[in-house]
């Protein structure tokens, strides 16, 4: 926890742009206080061992690049369909079976799906087996489901597992 407080302190001073003793102390106190509060409320558990392997870092970079590529492409497609005078959207709410199991895997998958334009994750079933995704334009349901499954979910799992 001291380690993370020091990290937050450095971040605080970095973003503030001043490195005097008073500011360092404020940064440390804030970081430590917030972390202590989060731990007391049970928001963060005891330190989990999360060690990134070198291969995972490369995969994470790949995921980031893939995400930005998708973001740009999806935005251009969306823009084109918006600017056409008579665009026919075919929205659908899809049910996509989830392979992601842990909280982190599910949250990361759902967030990345939501961040790309055209898809919005709406709901996750109680048994965590299915994610419901609102999609702006669907021609072929099976294809759309497969695209989501093999796109973000597969890559997220590739990074985290």
């Amino acid at each position: 926890m001291i380690f993370w407080s020091i990290l937050l302190m450095i971040l605080w001073c970095w973003l503030n742009g001043t490195w005097d003793v008073a500011n360092l102390a404020i940064g440390f106190a804030l970081g430590y206080g917030i972390l202590a509060l989060l731990r007391q409320r049970g928001v963060i558990e005891k330190q989990e061992k999360f060690v990134l392997k070198p291969l995972q870092i490369f995969k994470a970079l790949g995921l980031a690049l893939y995400f930005f590529w998708e973001l740009v492409v999806a935005n251009i497609i969306l823009a084109a369909s918006l600017l056409k005078p008579k665009s026919k959207l075919k929205p659908a709410i899809l049910a996509v079976p989830l392979d992601a199991k842990t909280d982190l895997e599910i949250v990361l998958t759902a967030t990345l799906i939501t961040l790309t334009p055209g898809t919005l994750s709406m709901h996750i079933s109680e048994d965590r087996s299915t994610i419901y995704i609102h999609t702006l334009h669907v021609d072929d349901e099976a294809k759309a489901v497969a695209a989501i499954k093999n796109g973000f979910e597969a890559r997220v799992l590739g990074v985290l597992r």
Binding site: W14, L15, G17, L71, V72, N75, L78, A79, L82, K88, L89, K90, P91, A92, I93, L94, A95, A110, T111, T114, L115, T116, P117, G118, T119, L120, S121, M122, H123, S125, Y132, H134, L136, V138, E141
Partner: protein
């Protein structure tokens, strides 16, 4: 081209605001709440990203750049949560998707109030 980074930053900022504008047009043109949510909640993610990239490049300095990075980071963490929550809450309240939505796998999965008393179009 003495101040090339100002030019590049300005181009990126303009491009970003163009995408933000498209998000706003989408908000007006989309047929139902869920499609509108797509436009508002995250249609601007690329727009803000480009604007902040433009800010970082035109300053070309570590402190404003890291602040711009923080803006993008927190937007990317918070914007999807809002979009998800609003659309989910709307579905639970019984807001019907537009009739062009042929496939609705969520139907019957969440309990919704039966009569269609809620109207998504606020006049």
């Amino acid at each position: 081209m003495m101040h090339w980074h100002y030019t590049l930053g300005a181009i990126l900022m303009l491009l970003g605001s163009l995408f933000c504008l498209l998000g706003a047009i989408g908000l007006l043109k989309m047929p139902d709440l869920y499609c509108r949510m797509q436009s508002t909640a995250k249609g601007q993610t690329l727009g803000i990203l480009l604007i902040m990239l433009g800010v970082a490049i035109s300053f070309s300095d570590a402190v404003p750049s890291s602040r711009a990075f923080a803006v993008v980071l927190f937007l990317f963490i918070t914007a999807p949560v809002g979009g998800q929550m609003v659309s989910r809450a709307a579905y639970m309240l019984g807001v019907k998707p537009d009739e062009t939505t042929e496939i609705d796998r969520l139907k019957g999965e969440i309990s919704t109030p039966s009569p269609a008393t809620t109207d998504e179009h606020a006049h």
